[in-house]
Amino acid sequence: MTPPPPHTPHRELDSESRRAEFEATALSFLGVVYGTARRLTRGSDDAEDLVQETYLRAYRTFDNFVRGTNCRGWLLTIMYSVFINHYHKTRRDPATASIDELEERFQAYLESGDDAGEAATTVEVHGVRLSPEVDQALSRLPEEFRAAVLFVDLDGLSYDEAAVVLACPVGTVRSRLYRGRKLLFAALQDHAVTLGFRKIER
């Protein structure tokens, strides 16, 4: 099957070709989109509805998707917009962690280093091990920080891509990511050693 030349707008395709092209381009991301939906909705049953709504909107606006550009980013942009407008507001946040407390814990971690002895610290990541603590700590981060960590560190988006998905400037992605990472580390610090974070001292 030879696809039409890439400069053909989708709307000029007959509806069958348009549908086939949509499925070839977008449906291969179902797993990615579902994984992100699960995390956005904090593992709730809303994830499937969010995925369905996302694909429906993507399909309806497929004429605006420029062939050859990043489809995953486009789908996540649509999904985050649906999530913020329809899912997020209708639900109360689960008890979010106290930011002040986490900030204090992070400071305490920074200051607890032994200046003289630590010649080298190395982070080692061991084999894959799933930890409910991480999912739990992530779900308790305030939404703006959580979304930045989720899209950059878990979905692997670049800052520029995340800025589009989150509809904010790149500088905002940078600062939310920075705080989000610190808060998440503070929340996980007690587990971090068993989760593969350790210091090797020379």
Partner: protein, 277 residues
């Protein structure tokens, strides 16, 4: 020294610092325990944390649910073709801008002057794998495994001197079948293969070299600062890109855009792969 670098530690980690600042911050981290601890914490969240997070497989009926809602949309559109009112709600101006830039590139495949046969060789390897796999016996792979680490270890043990990166494409519904140490154009190549939806084969090769050795193609894409060179040979699509001293190429008979999107997701800029120091 009392100053600490805060967000610039993250810039260093994410490969977003230019010289000379990069060297300054790197040197500071060598001597400042506090900044080193902060960098370690950020790095663990970036690299270690994601490995601890559970990935849920989509429920088996989700794809059919999505297709059913698309069917419903098709039926509604057929009845009222003019209703397209959702379009303006989604903030996607930047994707469109990126798309316009991409659309400015002519996208008709043409052969250039350089006589490199690499795309033809890679396409032939794909065809050979397909026909061997069709006859059973694993398609001539030395190792059959769905574990990327096991396949990477196999390459390292059997003479592949450069680091390989066997992708986990499970979330894209492609399952690793295995790999073999291969020879491409007289050089070592790490070849590994996947099976995707409807048993579609996807073969990746990594070989030492440069994309500048490829013939010219008019289908060149940019994503995330990486340049992708797209070739077609019959119904087979080949997508090449550079990672450090290694060229990666994905080959499949899946639709061209599917193969391109898989490459977009899996390619990394090498300087951001491993933090230095």
């Amino acid at each position: 020294m009392t100053a600490h670098y805060g967000e610039e530690l993250q810039d260093l980690l994410d490969g977003r610092l230019a010289e000379p600042r990069r060297s300054e911050v790197t040197a500071h981290v060598e001597t400042c325990v506090r900044c080193r601890r902060e960098l370690d914490a950020l790095r663990w969240i970036k690299s270690g944390m994601p490995k601890q997070v559970g990935e849920a497989e989509p429920p088996p009926d989700l794809a059919s649910r999505v297709r059913a809602s698309l069917d419903a949309a098709d039926a509604t559109d057929a009845a009222a073709a003019s209703r397209r009112s959702f379009a303006s709600r989604v903030p996607r101006r930047a994707w469109i801008a990126a798309g316009l830039a991409a659309a400015a590139v002519l996208v008709v495949f043409a052969r250039g002057d350089r006589p490199s046969a690499l795309p033809a060789l890679v396409a032939a390897d794909f065809a050979a794998y397909e026909s061997a796999a069709a006859q059973g016996g694993g398609g001539g792979l030395d190792i059959q495994s769905s574990d990327p680490k096991a396949v990477e270890a196999h390459f390292a043990r059997n003479g592949i001197a450069f680091p390989t990166r066997v992708f986990d494409l499970g979330m894209m519904q492609y399952r690793l079948a295995g790999g073999r140490v291969h020879e491409l154009d007289g050089r070592p190549s790490a070849l590994f293969a996947y099976r995707g939806p409807e048993d579609t084969a996807l073969v990746c090769q990594m070989y030492p070299g440069s994309v500048s050795e490829l013939p010219a193609t008019d289908d060149v894409r940019e994503n995330n600062g990486i340049t992708f060179h797209v070739f077609r040979s019959g119904n087979v699509t080949l997508v090449f890109w550079q990672e450090g001293d290694v060229v990666c190429v994905l080959t499949s008979s899946a639709p061209t855009e599917t193969v391109v999107q898989l490459a977009f997701v899996k390619a990394v800029r090498v300087e951001s792969l491993a933090p230095r120091g």
